[in-house]
């Protein structure tokens, strides 16, 4: 009797939330999959057109380019963010003065709105740098990087500037789990700092490395705010991320059904990426 009441309590704790989750998350997702087989433009009637949208996706250069940009951006940014934040975390974990001040500074970007940060960097790239370069007669730098084929670099810079803080936090947490005597032992052996890092530190924070990679990849594959804040996808389609294309063409261009098909493909790809990441890291106990 008691155990029955017990499990009833547990059911009551979870089932309402699970139903809400289904209704507000899974249901619209299923609806999106359903729409991807139609020709609906957002209003008015629609017809089933089978796999037509998916066939069209294959030939759509804009969307293919959006995938290429999204992946290139996500890979470059994920790697850079992890290198930068690991370096910062190592430095913060070393014996330094002003350590609390430094920490406060490096974690600050984490609490700022990505969109507004992107607006600020947009001004920096569009106005400040070209004006200074012009004053110094450096024509090479007088170009706004966001108006050139290097626009993606600008978006990477913003993302690293802001994204490094959270990953630094996680790495630092990882580094602090390593007891001091491990380093001392290594010192006595006469190992150089470089060797100590690769032999001892890095393997010990490996789980944090993995989780950082997974989290960073997940958020950068869905990059949106930075694109809106800095380039609006330009020049041309150079910096249109897939989320950006789904939003602008799905709503703005009346391609609701077509972009739903694109989103379904995006889902499949992301699940594959996740599976690969999980497989690569299997066996390591990762906790977050």
């Amino acid at each position: 009797m008691k155990s029955l009441r017990n499990s009833f309590a547990f059911i009551l704790m979870t089932v309402p939330m699970a139903l809400l989750f289904f209704y507000f998350h899974t249901w619209p997702a299923l609806h999106g999959i359903f729409l991807s087989f139609t020709d609906w433009n957002g209003f008015g009637p629609y017809h089933f057109i089978g796999l037509q949208n998916y066939m069209d996706l294959l030939h759509d250069k804009q969307i293919r380019h959006a995938y290429v940009f999204t992946f290139e951006f996500a890979i470059v940014t994920t790697i850079l963010v992890n290198i930068v934040s690991l370096l910062i975390a190592l430095a913060l974990n070393a014996k330094i003065k002003l350590s609390r001040t430094f920490r406060a500074v490096f974690f600050l970007p984490y609490v700022l709105s990505t969109l507004i940060v992107s607006f600020i960097f947009n001004y920096l790239f569009s106005n400040l740098i070209p004006n200074i370069a012009q004053a110094l007669h450096l024509p090479a730098l007088a170009q706004n990087i966001l108006g050139t084929q290097w626009a993606w670099v600008g978006i990477v810079i913003v993302s690293v500037w802001q994204g490094a803080s959270f990953n630094t936090l996680l790495y630092l947490a990882g580094l602090q789990t390593i007891p001091e005597d491990v380093y001392e032992a290594s010192n006595i052996d006469g190992a150089s700092a470089w060797v100590t890092f690769w032999r001892i530190t890095f393997p010990l924070i490996m789980p944090f490395f993995t989780i950082n990679m997974v989290l960073a990849a997940k958020s950068y594959l869905q990059v949106f705010d930075q694109v809106v804040g800095m380039t609006n996808g330009g020049p041309g389609t150079a910096t249109q991320s897939n989320t950006f294309v789904i939003y602008t063409n799905g709503f703005g261009g009346g391609e609701l059904a077509y972009q739903s098909a694109n989103a379904v493909v995006f889902l499949i790809i992301l699940v594959c990426v996740a599976l690969i990441q999980v497989r690569l890291t299997r066996g390591r106990e990762v906790q977050f």
């Binding site: 939330m17 957002g42 014996k95 330094i96 609490v111 700022l112 969109l115 001004y123 809106v228 989320t243």
Partner: protein, 274 residues
């Protein structure tokens, strides 16, 4: 890589340069916001000869700052409180019943949803929410609660593994029911993770742009980031006004951060290690 015995100057120099990189754009933003357009045309980075607080006043008036601020606060506050209350409960039920198939499946369901990209549900969701009359602030709160489940249940379940069962069992023997046990024993024990979840949810709801962008159609309900986007084209080339507005939008979180920096950092770290 960085030595641990004496003060490490290599690390110090590296961190100093890094700090400059972090602070420079913020410094620039402050300098721009304090000048009038004429002074800005002469120098962006120099100190203003006369500080123009008027930019801030004007920005507040243009963006209905306090109203917008309260919108953001309303959304963030309820998202955080309800998230912590409900997700801890869901996670508790799951964590204590992992041996049962239903709860294991539920956990995997939530976990798998973490990999579903938002764009796939974005288009139908907007329609669904407005049919329900929820394309507003309340709807946003609901969505923040719903879409945070995956990550938060994951965090809570991980944490609950380390919370000993003895206290609960003792309470159970004393005749307390599950609800009481949860609220009076388990929930307080999870305080550090509650804090982590609260911070993560709070920062997300406060700074989010895409969800308010697609959900809110009434400008009266706009959040701080969304208002910056909406007014961006109206600032034209009055960058001082625009930057004053940006800084005002960033300010509340920065103030919270300055006062609770240690607490925020500690708790996000807690979430990370376990």
């Amino acid at each position: 890589m960085f030595g641990r015995t004496k003060t490490n100057w290599v690390a110090m120099i590296f961190l100093s340069i890094g700090s400059l990189c972090i602070l420079f754009p913020i410094y620039m933003a402050i300098m721009v916001s304090l000048k009038n357009p004429q002074e800005l045309a002469q120098s962006v980075l120099g100190f203003p000869t006369q500080i123009h607080w008027g930019n801030f006043q004007q920005a507040m008036a243009v963006t209905h700052y306090f109203h917008t601020f309260l919108n953001s606060l309303f959304i963030t506050f309820f998202a955080v409180v309800l998230t912590v209350l409900t997700h801890s409960m869901v996670a508790y039920a799951i964590a204590r019943n992992m041996q049962k198939r239903f709860f294991r499946y539920l956990y995997n369901y939530f976990f798998a949803a973490m990999f579903v990209p938002f764009p796939i549900l974005m288009l139908p969701l907007v329609r669904q929410m407005s049919h329900l009359g929820l394309a507003d602030r309340v709807g946003l709160i609901i969505l923040y609660i719903i879409y945070g489940i995956s990550q938060n249940v994951f965090l809570y379940v991980g944490y609950l593994k380390s919370v000993p069962l003895e206290l609960e069992e003792a309470a159970l023997v004393d005749g307390a029911n599950r609800w009481r046990i949860f609220w009076s024993v388990v929930f307080p024990l999870m305080a550090p993770m509650n804090a982590t979840v609260a911070i993560l949810t709070g920062l997300w709801a406060w700074n989010d742009f895409l969800l308010p962008l697609v959900m809110l159609s009434n400008p009266n309900q706009y959040t701080l980031p969304l208002v910056q986007y909406a007014f961006q084209s109206q600032y034209s080339t009055n960058y001082s006004l625009a930057f004053a507005s940006y800084l005002l939008a960033l300010l509340p979180m920065v103030i919270v951060y300055i006062f609770c920096q240690k607490w925020i950092v500690n708790n996000v770290t807690k979430g990370a290690i376990k």
